[in-house]
Symmetry: C2
């Protein structure tokens, strides 16, 4: 085995042609991919005419178009995305930017987006990031600029960052923010109506007859946390209940933080008979705390979550929670983005797009024990 000597061995330059960034053999020569030139030759037209057919230009005679279309289908030709990207000055790539620990959420958005993107020939490039890093904005800037992304979708909580939105606007990169509040022009939003959703939870609890109701909210720096809190508090007030400050704990949407919050709430006297947890992770934290104290759900304590993540139905007892149509939101975000990129944003097509979660009643909610 030729051991690498510490002295650099210089090979005569002529011996090896040029350094060369390694080129893979990839495509077997036998099945060489067709190019637009091949098609043009086969059809006896110039490549430009083939290009016109591909891009649905009206300036091609029907007969010619048919002939070329037939050849394209027969040969299975598809234009090279990178070559198109170069000429079009855009990439046919959509980015998904997130810093969200909720895996099912991200996956569902992702798959919802792809459902819409595939039909129109876009690919999805994922970009998890760290919103607390110093490199947060520069990193995303590089990502967007280098790849010439046609657009990006932002998930909460980075979707709430106004600096990020400003930067994208300045970069001229179309974006869609998935959000819980109208923080932007409606044409840039997919909005989940968290305020109304929280109100639905309040109504459910009121109907069950609960009086001492507590909430574990998300971090106040998150817009969704504020919306859910306010919507909940307002709706309770409208039904003659109150949400006293000592019955509100601020968590961070995480399991661990929630256990601490729930411990605090459940050691109060009198104890709340119901806790609205601002997401399912948080609800799981309440379960843990209740479990530790030997409290039975829902007999001793009603728990309600938010998201309807897979976790909700795995917990015992199963969790009553607000279901967000996450996959649909992903699809809608993608469709809206494609519409923007294609310049179809005329008229009503770009109205604000909102989704309204709805309550899934399972085992964790019931009337308070007398």
């Amino acid at each position: 085995m030729p051991k690498k000597s510490s002295k650099v061995v210089r090979v005569p330059a002529r011996a090896r042609p040029e350094p060369r960034a390694r080129r893979p053999e990839h495509v077997a020569d036998s099945e060489r991919k067709h190019t637009i030139n091949d098609i043009a030759r086969l059809a006896n037209v110039s490549k430009k005419t083939v290009s016109r057919v591909i891009n649905e230009s009206p300036f091609v005679r029907e007969e010619t178009r048919a002939r070329i279309t037939e050849i394209i289908e027969r040969t299975g030709f598809t234009p090279d995305p990178q070559a198109r990207a170069l000429a079009f000055r855009r990439s046919f790539l959509i980015g998904l930017i997130y810093d969200n620990p909720n895996a099912p959420y991200v996956i569902n958005i992702q798959e919802g987006m792809l459902g819409a993107l595939r039909r129109v020939g876009y690919e999805l490039v994922v970009h998890p990031c760290d919103r607390h890093s110093e490199e947060f904005l520069p990193d995303i800037r590089r990502f967007v600029a280098r790849q010439k992304l046609d657009g990006v979708v932002l998930l909460p909580p980075v979707s709430e960052n106004p600096l990020l939105a400003d930067m994208l606007r300045q970069l001229g990169c179309p974006y869609i923010r998935v959000l819980a509040a109208a923080l932007d022009d409606p044409k840039n939003l997919i909005m989940s109506m968290d305020r109304e959703s929280a109100a639905e939870v309040a109504e459910h609890l009121a109907k069950l007859g609960h009086e001492r109701i507590a909430m574990i909210m998300g971090p106040r720096s998150f817009r969704s946390a504020i919306e859910r809190l306010e919507g909940f508090a307002d709706a309770l007030a409208a039904r003659g209940r109150s949400l006293p400050p000592e019955f509100v704990a601020e968590g961070s949407y995480t399991f661990e933080s929630s256990v601490a919050c729930a411990d605090a709430l459940l050691s109060r006297t009198p104890r709340p008979t119901a806790i609205f947890a601002a997401n399912d992770e948080t609800a799981a934290g309440v379960y843990r705390s209740a479990y530790g104290r030997g409290l039975k759900i829902p007999d001793d304590l009603t728990v309600i979550g938010f998201d309807d993540s897979p976790l909700a139905s795995r917990l015992c007892p199963s969790l009553t929670t607000m279901r967000q149509p996450i996959r649909d939101m992903g699809r809608m975000a993608a469709e809206k983005l494609v519409a923007k990129v294609s310049g179809l944003e005329s008229g009503a097509a770009i109205a604000a797009t909102t989704v309204l979660p709805h309550l899934i009643v399972r085992e964790s909610s019931g009337p308070p024990r007398q």
Copy 2:
């Protein structure tokens, strides 16, 4: 507002140049992106020399290199990925192909991969698919061929599909299969040692003193299911326990299937005192069944899972489970793939890469009640 009349208004052709696939204005002109030509002009060299510097060719005088490097850094120039892709005939894109309902698993792989890919200038394109669709293979073929992917990572269960691997090989597309068994050349594998892992579970149960031990396995069509079953059965046998057929139920790695399996196992007399669930979802199903029957975990029943997904620590009691270093597996897969693509697969660098999960003991396992 000009209402669109039903009669098509034809604008004279000269008026509008050509139909044109819409071109976005994207980059603000003020901050026009630099090209290699700009850099060449600034440095008073040809673009080829700049290209050499970018690609670290040794055929550039140190002084020249320094000058160009300085200019590149000062201007913040980064080469256009699509242009490079066109010239290099490769895309600097890596694909992630999966058909896996386990969201945390996919997300962790994804993020692990990106950790490695970013450093070397690759982007990740995700491609969920449906392995039962007729279009399964053609769809992936189009994806890989059109995008000229430099390589793909396959997650279970599609990683187990031999036809898919064959197709990729024929396409000349480097791939890494994340798998539970040595089904391929080691250089194409990231292997999780499921057999040994299952043995560790057996040992844990034996040490606790369990005798009547059951298992809910995954679908027999999955390699990991077989590995876990065999590893478990063999290890039990080695410790003087048996795994009788009536104590083995075949689930499908899903919560719902597991509830049915657990119901069947738990209605047997005598009842098993421990159940090894082949993944955490399955373990959650056992919890549900036990909950329905009023069985206490771990007093009446020990439950052990596999994965250490977030669910494991959310369940009450928390779940003893085998932790797979999923993120590391993603990172390793990406590194291995990049090494292949860069042609660095000489010598030991391409040895089989395996990971060994380890047991995380939590609350769900304990000695059987006398």
